[in-house]
């Protein structure tokens, strides 16, 4: 898997695998007929190993789910309970209404996270695809130097620019009549910081995809008299939709879970996001947090993005392997 491969091609199919669908529909017998069956002892031996691994993968997930339905408001669970006595969804109701000690409810936190996530993903995809098109298709002076500049920033973890960004954004006191805010301490400022961290990856990822689109169609359009802008809008953009969606989702994921900048930048608890609220439920300030609330909160936090991710994983994992460089 390399940085420039098409994300759709980079990984073998897993859940989308037609063999799995067939397996689930017709039972497991199909496989056994197609392939030489394993000797029974080896089959059992391998199944035991795989069941053990399955248990280790599922253990944290089961732990957190079963803790989240514990109705007893225990500050700590009293053991490993798959389904605690009297399981209920009370903890979910509690964290939706009042997740932290501050006067902001789950919806308010989620809206702040959503604003950052949407802002970052729309801006990075829009700006990214324009730059990616120029890098992938057009020849111009300074191309190499600019590409190295993008790649250089891509390698830097976002922590490395967060301090000067803080000071830079802090200089802007915005006064719009009644509304007056410091850009650094606002959702807008945080979104800008997230864009700054994600744009290089978006450019690189989209360029990698555009490089794999054959040029024949564009040449045909050019013969028909289309100019560069028309080719970009009418030919390249529609073909790049899968990559735009993947890059957009990965940008969304980054914004949705952004912690660093929010924790450092925001002043007011009304601008808190899900990730900052989650951190306030663990760590040194959380001696008193009831664990079932923490569990319910993390599930509500993760579920929307995890479900999308799980469904489209075969398209997303390739991009993630590259995007993960950006911490």
């Amino acid at each position: 898997m390399t940085a420039t491969t098409d994300p759709g091609q980079a990984t073998p199919p897993l859940v989308g695998d037609p063999r799995l669908a067939r397996l689930l529909r017709r039972g497991t017998r199909v496989r056994a007929e197609q392939e030489k069956p394993l000797p029974l002892v080896r089959q059992i031996f391998l199944q035991v190993i795989l069941l053990f691994i399955t248990a280790s993968v599922l253990f944290p997930i089961v732990w957190i789910v079963s803790m989240s339905v514990d109705p007893r408001n225990l500050s700590r669970p009293d053991g490993l309970n798959l389904i605690p006595p009297g399981a209920s969804l009370d903890a979910y109701a509690k964290v939706i209404a009042e997740p932290t000690g501050n006067p902001i409810d789950f919806l308010g936190l989620a809206m702040n996270s959503l604003k950052i996530a949407l802002g970052a993903s729309v801006a990075t995809v829009f700006l990214g695809v324009l730059a990616a098109y120029a890098f992938s298709r057009l020849r111009f002076r300074g191309r190499e130097a600019l590409m190295i500049a993008v790649l250089g920033v891509l390698m830097l973890p976002s922590v490395a620019t967060i301090i000067p960004l803080f000071i830079f954004l802090n200089q802007f006191q915005i006064d719009l009549g009644e509304v007056s805010f410091n850009l650094r301490a606002s959702i807008l400022g945080i979104t800008l910081a997230v864009i700054s961290a994600q744009l290089p990856f978006a450019i690189w990822n989209l360029k990698g995809y555009l490089d794999t689109i054959p040029k024949d169609l564009e040449e045909a359009a050019a013969v028909d008299g289309a100019n560069q802008n028309q080719i970009f809008r009418k030919v390249v953009l529609p073909l790049a939709i899968p990559a735009l969606a993947v890059t957009g989702f990965l940008g969304f994921l980054g914004g949705w879970t952004e912690y660093l900048t929010v924790a450092l930048f925001v002043g007011d608890t009304s601008d808190w996001t899900l990730s900052v609220a989650l951190n306030s439920m663990v760590g040194q300030f959380a001696r008193t947090t009831t664990w079932s609330y923490f569990a319910a909160f993390s599930i509500l936090f993760a579920l929307p993005v995890s479900v999308v991710f799980f469904i489209f994983q075969r398209y997303l994992i390739g991009g993630l392997a590259v995007g993960g460089v950006k911490g």
């Binding site: 898997m1 990984t11 897993l14 859940v15 695998d17 799995l20 397996l23 497991t28 392939e35 030489k36 391998l46 190993i49 795989l50 993968v57 944290p60 732990w63 700590r76 669970p77 490993l80 700006l127 990214g128 730059a131 120029a134 111009f140 191309r143 500049a149 920033v153 390698m155 830097l156 973890p157 922590v159 620019t161 967060i162 301090i163 000067p164 803080f166 000071i167 830079f168 802090n170 910081a193 700054s196 744009l199 290089p200 994921l253 949705w256 989650l278 951190n279 663990v282 760590g283 664990w291 923490f294 993390s298 936090f301 993760a302 991710f309 799980f310 994983q313 993960g324 460089v325 911490g327």
Partner: protein, 337 residues
């Protein structure tokens, strides 16, 4: 060139001009944004690293200019003379390198082992296992880190409960000290000759849970590209399973896994979430890595000038790591082919 352009009819000339400018028009939006919120801060950061920039220097109204201190910040970091307890620069760098290296090796071995196991011909329920094994990847890292912190809690954490359950099978009482470990804060090392705290092993466990599935996905891709005839030929020559693995499987795995391992190294080297949320750098700052330390310098201590110098160090360290790993990738590529 200029005269030739001037000699062209006016319309042709403007077309040519717009043609040559067009690439830049596509680049302008992204690069204007990056110039303001990426490149400018980077340059500003280098300037900051030569000053004693602190809390008082960035007030919105009448800011005080920061004082120029030359290389003082760099020298203080390198000599570990900072006003933070338990800061040792060299130990930090070495731990960070070891953290990345040990993770990559463990993920790679487990990932390949499971991929090979799942690729066994005639194995049942393969698709179900593959669907389950990808679960760690789809959960946001911040949740993974906080949940594992919770599981390693000494009072009521899942790991100690799990150990007690297993210990119970062997008749060990649940209050035995070995089954009630203070995973993230215990200060004496579990292995006396290895200067790594227990928290490191807790982090390694959590990150392995998170990291092996992607390795396994990459390895599976490579395994499926191996022609079946090669194994048949090896079987005809009477090769043992071990020999088949060494002489058929490994040569196909190596070119796919090496670039991925190198990516993994850089990813893990900069992995902010685990040390920050799981151990908060503890015990005594011994599981701190460079990125979390840089963040703490700014966030907890508001030493912006020092933090800037630290980020410059981080940049050069990463550059060195990237250059070495790139060379390694090139060298091993020609070896593998």
């Amino acid at each position: 060139m200029a005269t030739a352009a001037a000699a062209l009819p006016p319309r042709r000339r403007s077309v040519r001009l717009s043609r040559s400018l067009q690439p830049y028009l596509y680049l302008v939006p992204a690069f204007v944004v990056m110039a303001i919120i990426t490149f400018y801060p980077l340059v500003f950061q280098v300037w900051m690293s030569f000053t004693d920039f602190g809390q008082i220097n960035f007030r919105v109204r009448n800011p005080v200019p920061a004082e120029f201190v030359g290389l003082d910040n760099y020298v203080r970091i390198a000599q570990s003379r900072l006003a933070i307890p338990n800061f040792e620069f060299i130990r930090l760098v070495l731990f960070n390198l070891w953290w990345a290296f040990s993770n990559v090796v463990v993920h790679l071995v487990i990932g390949v082992f499971i991929a090979v196991t799942l690729n066994t011909k005639g194995l049942r329920f393969r698709g179900i296992y593959r669907a389950i094994f990808v679960l760690p990847v789809v959960i946001p890292p911040i949740i993974v880190a906080t949940v594992w912190r919770n599981m390693f809690d000494p009072n009521g954490g899942a790991i100690n409960y799990g150990l007690q359950a297993v210990g119970g099978l062997f008749g060990i009482p649940p209050d035995a000290p070995g089954l009630n470990l203070d995973w993230l804060r215990q200060s004496n090392d579990p292995i006396s000759w290895l200067p790594l705290p227990l928290a490191y092993f807790a982090m390694l466990t959590a990150n392995t849970w998170l990291g092996w599935p992607l390795n396994s996905v990459v390895a599976t891709g490579a395994l499926q590209s191996i022609p079946g005839e090669l194994y048949e030929a090896a079987a005809m020559d009477g090769a043992s399973p071990m020999q088949k693995f060494r002489n058929v499987t490994l040569p196909f795995l190596r070119p796919a896994m090496l670039p991925y391992a190198i990516y993994g190294f850089v990813i893990t080297f900069n992995l902010f979430f685990l040390p920050f949320f799981m151990t908060a750098g503890g015990p005594f700052g011994r599981t701190e890595i460079l990125v979390t330390q840089a963040y703490r310098l700014a966030y907890d201590l508001r030493l912006f000038g020092v933090a800037a110098a630290f980020a410059v160090y981080l940049f050069f360290l990463l550059l060195i790591v990237t250059l070495i790993t790139n060379r390694l990738a090139k060298a091993t590529k020609s070896y593998a082919e």
